[in-house]
């Protein structure tokens, strides 16, 4: 019970201090809207909102989670307020789960915005929404732990921004979000399969349009493996680098 009080209060504090601030809410709304609009303006007749929806949802989650988490943890560490959490009597695993839950929730909500916007423009019938939700949650968890990995790997806020962009922008083109993996040059295709977002976007493609290319089980399993690996690696790094 005591641990849960700590967990929920860390989550509540982060939501209030970071995620529910007007700039972040507006970022969450503007970012998916801008992406959808960009594709629509690029090709008003050819664009199929439903076809680009899995890609836009995946990107919204990726950017929403990594932008915030990588920066907030680095910032708290810099101001030494993170020490306060490390010195509290909760385990490091629970602490990091508490710190990441806010980003996961924020990511899931970010993914819902393009879906809600699309529902006003196109017919969204025959979609497995439970599957979409499960896929979005897993993408959010994996992207958040990727953000955690970034924040543990750097020491300055600007480094976190640079490092996350270095990872996120290639993912936009290599994970089959808008350009099919089969259209990529042959030497780049193996890279796509070592990036977690490939599997997340494929789940959403299968659930929304039925045109995913990887089996659902494989994608779910890969995301679980990626998220567990990133979490274990990050907490190990914290123990090694921050409790020296």
């Amino acid at each position: 019970m005591k641990k849960m009080i700590a967990y929920f209060n860390i989550l509540k504090k982060d939501m209030k201090t970071y995620y529910l601030k007007p700039p972040n809410i507006s970022w969450g709304l503007v970012f998916p809207f801008a992406w959808t609009l960009m594709f629509y303006l690029r090709s008003e007749t050819a664009v199929d909102i439903r076809q680009i929806l899995p890609g836009v949802m995946s990107l919204s989650v990726l950017f929403g989670t990594t932008s915030m988490l990588a920066v907030t943890i680095t910032f708290e560490r810099k101001s030494r307020s993170f020490e306060r959490l490390l010195l509290s009597p909760i385990s490091l695993d629970l602490l990091m789960l508490a710190k990441t839950t806010g980003a996961i929730i924020f990511g899931v909500l970010n993914a819902m915005i393009p879906a809600v916007m699309a529902s006003f423009i196109v017919d969204l019938d025959n979609i497995n929404w439970a599957g979409v939700f499960a896929g979005v949650v897993l993408i959010a968890v994996t992207s958040t732990f990727l953000g955690l990995f970034i924040s543990v790997s750097v020491s300055e806020v600007f480094e976190a921004q640079t490092f996350s962009n270095f990872i996120r922008f290639p993912m936009m083109f290599l994970c089959g979000l808008f350009i099919p993996i089969s259209s990529l040059p042959a030497f780049l295709r193996p890279v796509s399969y070592v990036l977690p977002l490939t599997y997340g976007a494929d789940i959403l493609k299968t659930m929304i349009n039925g045109n995913g290319i990887i089996s659902l089980w494989t994608s779910f399993l890969m995301l679980v493996l990626f998220s567990s690996g990133l979490f274990v690696f990050s907490t190990h790094n914290i123990k090694r680098k921050w409790i020296y």
Binding site: M1, K2, K3, I5, A6, N9, I10, K13, T17, S79, R80, S81, E83, R84, L85, L86, L87, S88, P89, I90, S91, I243, Y244
Partner: protein, 321 residues
């Protein structure tokens, strides 16, 4: 009864030995001062005791729990006030206190009540709704101390609690520390203000270059120092030649030059000023001032560590800036 016990504590930072076998203990209900110059190992020690740094070797127990094996159990019962005011800038004073209490699993109604009581006790009742970033340095330090005791710990670690704040706030904080101790909180205090340690601590440990070189009750340390009588002459000449001739002509006395360039005459017996005044007059040395010094803890520190207290203070404050 010992509440904290440290034996053979070492810390090796890739070949640099920050702690070289530190041993000491803290008794229940006391204020224990840990004094030493910059880089002596004070912060490394406090970080190891609180779980922020791993020791290379040694044994530590706090309230009967092994710090190395069961740090989370230990952290339930310790309060920590770091050398920087590291609460959350965007949260109010009350929110910060309640949040810190929640980290120890304290239920909502209890932490709200406790936060209110502490704000009142620390004279911050009118600023509870203000954001932490709007607090003055002194107010920030007070709130950080309040956050350190909100879960009513068995022992409170205070790392340089009055560094970098104004005189009045420092005085209020010293009063609060004293009051906290009176209500039963054991306090482990690191400070570079020797006068502060003298006023607050029942016992003091001196650490230099990673080794504890002396631990004793403050009163005993002072009594030992006050066995010596010191007379200080402020003269227009304090050259090596003059010091040398004083040494050879007054063999029963210890003659030295202080860091401020004054002549110090030390003896176990009471010193008669007249022979020295006559001697200096014969040597055509002008005496600007002559006074009897009452040795303080600062003198004990200088004697034990060989480090001038002023230098230590400047080093520390320079580092803070």
């Amino acid at each position: 009864m010992e509440i904290l016990n440290v034996e053979g504590l070492t810390k090796d930072y890739n070949g640099f030995l920050a702690l070289k076998g530190v041993d000491f203990s803290v008794e229940k209900g006391e204020i224990f001062g840990f004094l030493g110059p910059n880089g002596a190992g004070k912060t490394t020690t406090i970080n190891i005791l609180t779980g922020l740094t791993r020791p290379t070797s040694g044994k530590i127990s706090i309230l009967g729990n092994d710090v190395i094996k069961d740090i989370k159990k230990v952290q339930e019962n310790i309060g920590i006030v770091p050398d920087e005011s590291n609460l959350y800038e965007e949260m109010s004073g009350t929110e910060n206190l309640e949040f810190c209490a929640s980290l120890y699993g304290i239920p909502k109604e209890v932490r709200t009540k406790r936060a209110k009581e502490l704000l009142l006790q620390f004279g911050l009742q009118d600023t509870g709704k203000k954001k932490f970033k709007a607090y003055s340095k002194g107010m920030k330090r007070k709130l950080v101390i309040a956050a350190g005791i909100i879960h009513e710990p068995g022992i409170l670690f205070l790392d340089e609690p009055t560094t970098g704040i104004d005189v009045e706030s420092a005085r209020q904080i010293r009063k609060l520390i004293f009051e906290l101790n009176k209500t039963g909180t054991t306090i482990f205090l690191t400070t570079h203000y020797i006068e502060e340690a003298q006023r607050l601590c029942r016992r003091i440990g001196f650490i230099v270059e990673g080794k504890v070189i002396k631990i004793d009750e403050t009163a005993k340390l002072l009594a030992e120092a006050q066995k010596e009588h010191i007379v200080e002459f402020d003269t227009d000449d304090a050259s090596d030649v003059l010091i040398g001739s004083l040494k050879s002509d007054f063999r029963d006395f210890k003659v030295s030059r202080s860091s401020t360039g004054k002549i110090h005459i030390t003896s176990k017996e009471k010193i008669d000023l007249m022979p020295f005044m006559r001697y200096l007059d014969e040597k055509k040395v002008n005496i600007l001032e002559a006074k009897v010094l009452h040795p303080s803890l600062e003198d004990v520190f200088v004697k034990i560590t060989g480090i001038e207290a002023d230098k230590m203070k400047k080093d520390k404050e320079g580092k803070k800036k």
